[in-house]
């Protein structure tokens, strides 16, 4: 069996696409697991699941220790040789703990998964975006985590036949306690879906100056402002939904304009799939220019207003 789990419904639908492809090659079934969300079951069936296991539990809040033991329980009953888990932070800690518990191999953040010489093979980006590691499992069970947007969900098929079962499972009890869950400050920005992104980095001297970037984003009709790690994580001038990079969001807009961003490989890893990349930086040696189609060397405080008005002129 191929087992698919994420606490994120959208990601689960994406995993189901790859999961059913792998299951077909193995002549096995694909199982989707939801813990506590019965309402997702129909969608999982319509997007490829042969079986949906709805776990009813007295542990509705995610704790890696408890959810690991719930999945272990399911794996024992439905002999699973491949487990696909959504690569958000909960998913990654869950996958690794589960791997340890059952002495399995695990590869995180895979962007390609296929059989090569009958062995399950994965590809993922390593060395901060400088290389792709091709890795092969030597034996099942095999655990893989997949980031969002690597695969699309299968088209909805209301006629896809599948079975739903409910199971009462409580995982082993963890002595830890969740004290508080707090929504992070968010400005409701979705950089991952944006077609045009203008991003800012350490080249900006103060928070107010970011308006130079949003003004350019406005005339580009992209209206989406991104940023590098320091602006979101250290200075907190923008909320983390703007953060583009290895630990932030991965984006692929048609046009990406990097302003005052030096081009650390962690940032490049988040935007390298963009269509056209423009860089503005005062340092002609800045790494960002190596990853750019077009660049202007100079003071962004002078360039951005000029560029904004030139584009306004062009677009009328």
């Amino acid at each position: 069996m191929v087992l698919v789990y994420s606490d994120d419904k959208k990601l689960t639908l994406e995993l189901l696409n790859k999961g059913s492809e792998l299951a077909k090659e193995l002549h096995k079934k694909v199982i989707a697991v939801t813990i506590g969300h019965e309402e997702h079951a129909v969608e999982y069936l319509e997007h490829g699941a042969d079986l949906v296991i709805i776990v009813e539990t007295s542990q509705p809040q995610f704790k890696a220790e408890e959810y690991t033991s719930i999945l272990q329980n399911i794996m024992k009953e439905h002999h699973s040789e491949i487990v696909l888990i959504g690569s958000n932070k909960n998913g990654k800690e869950l996958a690794a703990r589960l791997a340890a518990k059952i002495d399995a191999g695990c590869v995180t953040d895979c962007t390609k998964i296929y059989f090569h010489e009958k062995k399950l093979t994965t590809e993922r980006i390593v060395y901060s975006g400088n290389a792709i590691a091709v890795e092969q499992f030597t034996a099942p069970p095999q655990i893989i985590t997949i980031p969002s947007k690597v695969f699309n969900p299968l088209p909805k098929n209301p006629h896809h036949r599948g079975v739903t079962i409910k199971k009462k499972i409580d995982g082993e009890h963890s002595p830890s306690k969740i004290l508080k869950v707090q929504e992070m400050k968010s400005e409701g920005v979705n950089v991952e879906d944006a077609q045009i992104i203008v991003s800012c980095g350490r080249g900006f001297k103060k928070k107010e100056d970011i308006k130079l970037v949003s003004e350019l984003a406005d005339v580009l009709k992209g209206r989406t402002v991104g940023c590098s790690r320091p602006i979101a994580a250290d200075l907190k001038w923008l909320s983390e939904d703007h953060w583009i990079g290895l630990s932030g969001h991965k984006v692929k807009p048609k046009l990406y304009v990097a302003c005052g961003i030096s081009g650390q490989i962690q940032h490049i890893a988040g935007m390298r799939d963009s269509g056209v990349i423009v860089a503005i930086n005062k340092d002609p040696e800045a790494l960002i220019f190596k990853s750019a189609d077009y660049g202007i060397v100079g003071d962004l405080y002078e360039i951005l207003p000029k560029l904004t008005s030139a584009i306004k002129g062009k677009l009328g």
Binding site: K89, E93, A99, A131, S176, K180, V278, S291, L315
Partner: protein, 254 residues
């Protein structure tokens, strides 16, 4: 309070050059360092020790030259180090067993601190794997940690939300880069660190099992990055004009 910090020696990813013909990274001759977030892990350990007293042990699986890097950690404030030389073939499964085996051999521990991931491979597996093998609670991606007399409270950063978790000892915590600013050791501390011990253990000292990797790396491919690299550096007005013309030409302005 007995604290263990797991630290990895890695290539400095910022120094990696890419072979222009094969696009593969050139890893030979790249300077080595302790992975960034492992230093955040140690800083968190030192803060706990300053508050509650105790002992900090650094645990590293790595080549003999990792000893040099471990000395930096002793200078920062760790008390002693354990270096385990890895077998020829190793994956996360193998290394996690070595680290967990070493921790069991040390025996007495309250908190294990790790970085959220290492900067070279960035998988984030090691912390949760060790916690799983030791069967203790884990708190990953902690951006804020408060160690109290007999428990720890930490805030996990999940991007769209933050979850605050409390756990009794023993517990394993992985920390993010934002959790703190690792201190720089003083000259006095560097000199004093030379008298702190680094024990060298073999695989057989920490496990009786013959560990065979579950995952093999079969290739390291380059990433093609084909970009036009047209960089304008003359008069700003002229540069802006040329850029806008190009953007119109390639059809991204409309």
């Amino acid at each position: 309070m007995n604290i263990i910090v797991c630290a990895k020696q890695v290539v400095d990813v910022a120094e990696i050059k890419v072979d222009s013909s094969t696009k593969k990274p050139i890893l030979v001759g790249v300077p080595q360092k302790i992975s960034d977030m492992d230093k955040n892990a140690l800083e968190e350990a030192i803060k706990s020790k300053e508050k509650h007293g105790g002992k900090i042990t650094i645990l590293t699986v790595g080549a003999p030259d990792a000893k040099e890097r471990m000395k930096e950690l002793l200078a920062m404030g760790a008390d002693e180090g354990v270096l385990i030389s890895p077998p020829e073939h190793a994956d996360y499964y193998v290394i996690a067993h070595l680290l967990a085996g070493a921790i069991q051999k040390i025996g007495n521990y309250d908190i294990i601190f790790c970085g959220e991931a290492s900067i070279d491979m960035f998988s984030g597996q090691m912390g949760p794997r060790i916690a799983g093998l030791l069967n203790i609670p884990q708190i990953t991606y902690a951006q804020q940690v408060t160690v109290e007399q007999n428990k720890v409270v930490a805030e996990r950063n999940l991007g769209e939300k933050a979850v605050t978790i409390e756990s009794p000892f023993p517990v394993l915590i992985t920390v993010t880069k934002e959790s703190n600013q690792p201190r720089l050791p003083s000259l006095m501390a560097i000199l004093a660190s030379s008298s702190k011990p680094i024990h060298e253990w073999a695989v057989t000292d920490v496990t009786k099992e013959a560990l065979v990797p579950k995952v093999q790396t079969t290739d390291l491919k380059g990433i093609p990055m084909e970009r036009k690299n047209l960089i304008y550096q003359d008069d700003l007005d002229r540069s802006v004009g040329k850029l806008v013309d190009e953007l119109v030409k390639v059809g991204v302005l409309r």
